[in-house]
Amino acid sequence: MKKKIFFGVIFILIAVGAVLPRQGFAFYLLGDKLRVKGSLYEFIIYGTNFKKSTNEYRDTNLGLVRTKATLELLYKAIDCPENALNFFGFYRYWYEATPDIDKRYRQSITPYLRRRFQKCNYYSDDWINEMYADWYHGPWNIRLGKQIVFWSEVELIRTVDQINQLDLRYSSPGIDPWDEMKLGLWMLRGFYNSQLPGQLIFEFMWIPDFRPVRTPTEGTFWGGNPGPPTPNEPPYYGQNAAIEEQWIKSRPKRDLKHSSFAARIRGNSEVRIFKTPYLLDWTLSYYRGMNNTPVARRKYLGVPSTTNTDPNTLNGYGNRLANQRLAGDPYTDLPSHRFWNYKFYHIIGGSLQSFVPKLKGVVRGEVAYEINKPESTADAKENAPSYAKQITGSCTRNTVNAGLTYDVPIPVELLRHPKMQWLGANGTLDTSFGYFGQWRLGDVKNVRTTFGYQQKVQTGFTISSRTGLRNNALTPVVRTLWNTRKWGYTAFALAYTPGAHMRYELGYLMFYAKNVWDSREAQSEGKDNVYLKMGYEF
C-alpha cells in the first residue's frame, strides 16, 4: 500500500508537469502586498553498492523517499524608499517514507530518532525555517525573527560561515540548497550601510538561540550501521544512536546567557597592483557562539575505564550499552541529567574576492581562526579506536581553516563549433577550482575526535564545473572533492528545467576512502547512490 502511495506521488508530479500551464511564477495577493511562492519535491536516493554488512539492515536499496513542501511568504507592509517594513516567512514540511517501505531499515533506527527523522519535528518550530520582520530606515536595516545567515564566499567549504548549523541527515551540500539545509535561528540582526570610503557595511547579530549540527542518524542511509543484529529484534541500536539522543537531551536551556554574538564589516575597495586596478570585496568578521558539538560534563564523566558500567556516568553508560548490545539485554534508559555541555568559542575571520583580469576569473579566499574551540580528551595510550576511547575530560584548542577558490568560465571550442549548434550549448564550462586547508594548533594527541584522530593538518581540493545545454533547459554538473588522506567524492548531476514549474535532477554520487575514520565525509564510503529529485515550483 505504501509503495503504491509513493509511486502515486511520483505519477502525480509527472502528470502535473504535463498538464499545468507552462508560464507562471510566484503569485500575489492582497493588492500585490503579499507574495506567495512554494514548491513540492520528491527526493529519492537509491544505494548502488551497499557493503555486505549494510545489507543486513536493509530490505531494499532505497536510501531516501522524502516528500517535501515549502511555502515562502513575503508581505510588504510599508514600501517606501527610505522606510520599508517587510515580513518574510519560509516554511517547510516533509515526510520521509523509507522506514515505511523498508521494514529492516525501520528497525535500524531507534523509535525516538525515527520520529524526528521521518517528519519535520526535530524541534517543535522546525517547520519554520525563517520568519522575520525586516525593517529598512535610511541606512539601517533591522531584522528580527528566525533567520539564516550566509557568510561564506567559497563553494563546498565552510570556514567563517558557522552561525547556522546544517541538517546533514538527508543529503549533502550541493544537492539540497543551503537555505533548506541550514537550521534557522531566532535572532536580532542589523545592518548599517555607511557611505564611508569602501562603502562599508556594518553588521551585528544577537542570537539567543542555539541549534547544534544534525549529523546523519544511525541506521539511516547516511548514518552508520547500528549494533550487530541480535535475536531480540528490535532493537539493536548502536553507540551513535545513544550519543545522538544524549546530545538532543543536552541541548542548553533557553537562557540569555547562552546567547551568541556576531559582527562583520563588509567593504569594497579598489587597489592597484602593478598598475592593474582590482576591486576587492572583503569582510572581517567575529563570532562568539557555542560549538556545534558538545564536550563531556566533568561532573558526570565517571571513571574512564571499560570496567565502569555506572549508567549515571557518560563513560559508564557507554560501556554498559556496549555490554548489553553484545549480550542482547534490554537497554538502560538515559538518566535525567545531561552528560554533555555545549561550550562557547570564538571565530575571527576574513574573506576576499576579486576578479583578476590576467586569470580571466574570480579568486576568492577566506580564513577563519577558531579560538578556544572545546574538545573532549582521551588517553592516547588506550588501546581502542578513536570512536571507542574512554573520555577523560575536555580541553580547548585553536584551529585555522582556510579556503581558496578560483572561478573561471572555460570556453569549450567543441561546444561552440557551428556543427554543435543543435545542442544549444552556452559553450562554456563554469568551473571552480578550490583548495581547503585546516591546521589544528597545539597538542592533538590527547584530543578525542571520532574523525581525523590525532591529525594536525587536513588538505583538500575541489573542482566543480557546470554548463548549459538546450538553452539551459539541461544543466550538467560535476563536483569532486579530494582530500590528501585519500578520501573524497565525485558527483554527477543533470538538471532538467523544461518549463516554468517542473524541475528534475538526476544524479550519481560516488565516495571513496582509504580510512573511513578520517572524516565524516569519508564515512560515506559504500554509500554510492543514484538520486532523483523532481518537483513543482510556483
Binding site: 561564506s152 557611505q195 569594497n268 576591486l279 576578479f355 543543435w422 544549444g424 552556452n426 559553450g427 515550483e537
Partner: protein, 427 residues
C-alpha cells in the same frame, strides 16, 4: 571727433574684434555639424510617403510577404516565409507610416557642442571619452564612427524598466518564463539629466561609465536574485559583475571575461544586451551601405502577440527607415559570432536590429529591437525598447520579450550601484 567718442569707438571696435576672434572657430565648427539628422531627405521622404499610400495600415502576412520583400532583412523574410520554424502557421506585422524621432534638447546641445572636435585615437577609441557626450559623428564616414554614435545614445541617461520574456523551444513548444526589473545609469556621456556631460570625478572615483542594477522576478528559482554590473571609462578594463543569489543568500563576484555566454538560456549572449553592451573598441567595423528597411521604431507592445511555443512576435508595427548597415567582426578570433551586421537608426543611432552569423558564415540569429518613444522625467522624449525577439534559425528557437517602461531620466540614487544594495533591494 570728441576724444571720449573716439575712445568709445576704438574700445567698441576692439571688443567686437575680440568677440569675433573667439567666436569664429565656434561658428566655423558649428557650421560643420548637422543635427538632428533624419532618415530621409525631402525627395526620399516624398517617395516613402507615396509607397505608404499603398501599404500604411496594411497587415503583411506570410502569404503577402513577397510584396514587401525589398524592405525586409534576409532573416525577417526567411522567418516570415517559414513560420512553422518559429512555432506558428502564419506570421504577420502591420505597416505604419515613417515618423521621425524627436531629438532631446540635451542631445541636440551636447552633439552640437562636442561633435565638431570629435576624433578617434590610434586604437579607434574616442578621444576625451567620458568628458564629452552626444553623438560624436553626426555625419559619419566609417563604421567605427557609427559604432561610437551607437555608444553615445544614452536614451535619457537613466532608465528604469521591467522586462519579461520567454525562452521558447519552437519545436517542442516548451517555454520558460523569465523577468526582471532593471535600473541603468550613464555616469558619463550624459546629455539630458544633470550633471552633463558626466558625474563629477569626486562622485565617481572609480571611473564608472555605466552601471545597471537588476532584480529578477521570474522564474521562481531566480526570484529576488539581484545583479550589479559596472562598465568603466577605462576601455581596456573588464566589467565588474556581482550577483546576489537569493537561493544561496550570497553576494558573489562573477567573471565577465566570457561575454559570449548566453543569458539565462535565452538566445542572447551578454554582449547582445542593447545590441552591443561593451566597448566599441572590441570589434572592427566596415560600413556597408544604407538599408531602407521596415523596422520597429514606434511600436505599441500591447499589440505584440504570439501563442505558446511561438518564438517570433506577431503584430509588430513596422515603419521604413534608412538604416546605416555596418559589418562587425570581433577582434577575438575565437569569438562566437563569425560576423554581425548592425542596422543603426539614422536619427537616434539605436540598433534597430542585428544579424548574427556563425563562424562558418551561416545565418544563425537575428535580434530585433522594437522601440517606442517615451516621455522622460525632464519633459523630453527618448526612444527605448518596447519589445524584442532574438531568434535562432539553426535551432528553431526564440526569445521574445516585452518591456514595461517605469521611467526615463529619473534621478536614480547612485548608491543603488553599490554591492550593499544587492541584498537590501532583493525584494
Amino acid at each position: 571727433m570728441d576724444m571720449k567718442v573716439k575712445r568709445s569707438f576704438v574700445s567698441t571696435g576692439l571688443r567686437v574684434l575680440i568677440i569675433l576672434a573667439f567666436s569664429f572657430p565656434v561658428l566655423s565648427r558649428a557650421g560643420e555639424v548637422t543635427f538632428p539628422t533624419f532618415s530621409y531627405n525631402e525627395q526620399e521622404l516624398a517617395k516613402v510617403r507615396e509607397w505608404e499610400k499603398t501599404w500604411a495600415g496594411k497587415k503583411v502576412t506570410t502569404e503577402t510577404i513577397d510584396q514587401v520583400k525589398d524592405f525586409l532583412s534576409e532573416p525577417v523574410y526567411k522567418a516570415m516565409k517559414n513560420p512553422k520554424t518559429f512555432g506558428t502557421d502564419s506570421l504577420w506585422f502591420e505597416v505604419v507610416p515613417y515618423r521621425p524621432y524627436a531629438a532631446s534638447k540635451g542631445m541636440t546641445e551636447q552633439t552640437k557642442k562636442y561633435a565638431p572636435d570629435s576624433k578617434l585615437d590610434a586604437n579607434e577609441a574616442l578621444v576625451n571619452f567620458g568628458k564629452v557626450s552626444g553623438y560624436p559623428f553626426p555625419q559619419p564616414k566609417t563604421g567605427i564612427e557609427m559604432a561610437w554614435n551607437f555608444d553615445g545614445n544614452t536614451r535619457g541617461d537613466t532608465h528604469h524598466v521591467m522586462n519579461e520574456g520567454e525562452v521558447v523551444d519552437c519545436k517542442t513548444r516548451l517555454e520558460r518564463h523569465a523577468g526582471h526589473l532593471r535600473w541603468d545609469t550613464y555616469w558619463a556621456s550624459r546629455t539630458d539629466l544633470p550633471p552633463v556631460p558626466a558625474i563629477p570625478a569626486d562622485q565617481n572615483q572609480r571611473g564608472i561609465f555605466r552601471s545597471y542594477f537588476q532584480r529578477h522576478i521570474a522564474p521562481v528559482d531566480f526570484v529576488d536574485t539581484t545583479m550589479l554590473e559596472i562598465r568603466y571609462l577605462d576601455l581596456t578594463r573588464d566589467e565588474d559583475l556581482w550577483v546576489y543569489t537569493a537561493m544561496f543568500r550570497r553576494i558573489r563576484r562573477y567573471a565577465t571575461s566570457q561575454r559570449s555566454d548566453t543569458i539565462d538560456g535565452t538566445d542572447m549572449i551578454y554582449d547582445d544586451q542593447d545590441g552591443w553592451y561593451t566597448s566599441p573598441t572590441w570589434n572592427t567595423y566596415k560600413y556597408i551601405g544604407r538599408a531602407d528597411l521596415l523596422v520597429g521604431r514606434h511600436v505599441d507592445n500591447k499589440k505584440a502577440e504570439r501563442k505558446t511555443g511561438q518564438g517570433f512576435w506577431n503584430g509588430i508595427q513596422r515603419e521604413r527607415a534608412n538604416n546605416w548597415a555596418v559589418e562587425v567582426v570581433s577582434k577575438d578570433k575565437n569569438y562566437i559570432y563569425g560576423k554581425q551586421i548592425w542596422y543603426l537608426d539614422p536619427e537616434t543611432w539605436q540598433m534597430n536590429f542585428k544579424v548574427m552569423y556563425n563562424r562558418q558564415g551561416e545565418l544563425w540569429k537575428t535580434y530585433e529591437m522594437f522601440y517606442d518613444e517615451y516621455p522622460t522625467a525632464l519633459g523630453q522624449k527618448a526612444a527605448y525598447m518596447a519589445c524584442e525577439h532574438t531568434v535562432d534559425f539553426i535551432r528553431s528557437h526564440g526569445s521574445p520579450g516585452k518591456y514595461t517602461m517605469k521611467g526615463l531620466s529619473l534621478d536614480i540614487p547612485l548608491t543603488l550601484y553599490q554591492t550593499g544594495s544587492l541584498k537590501v533591494k532583493a525584494y
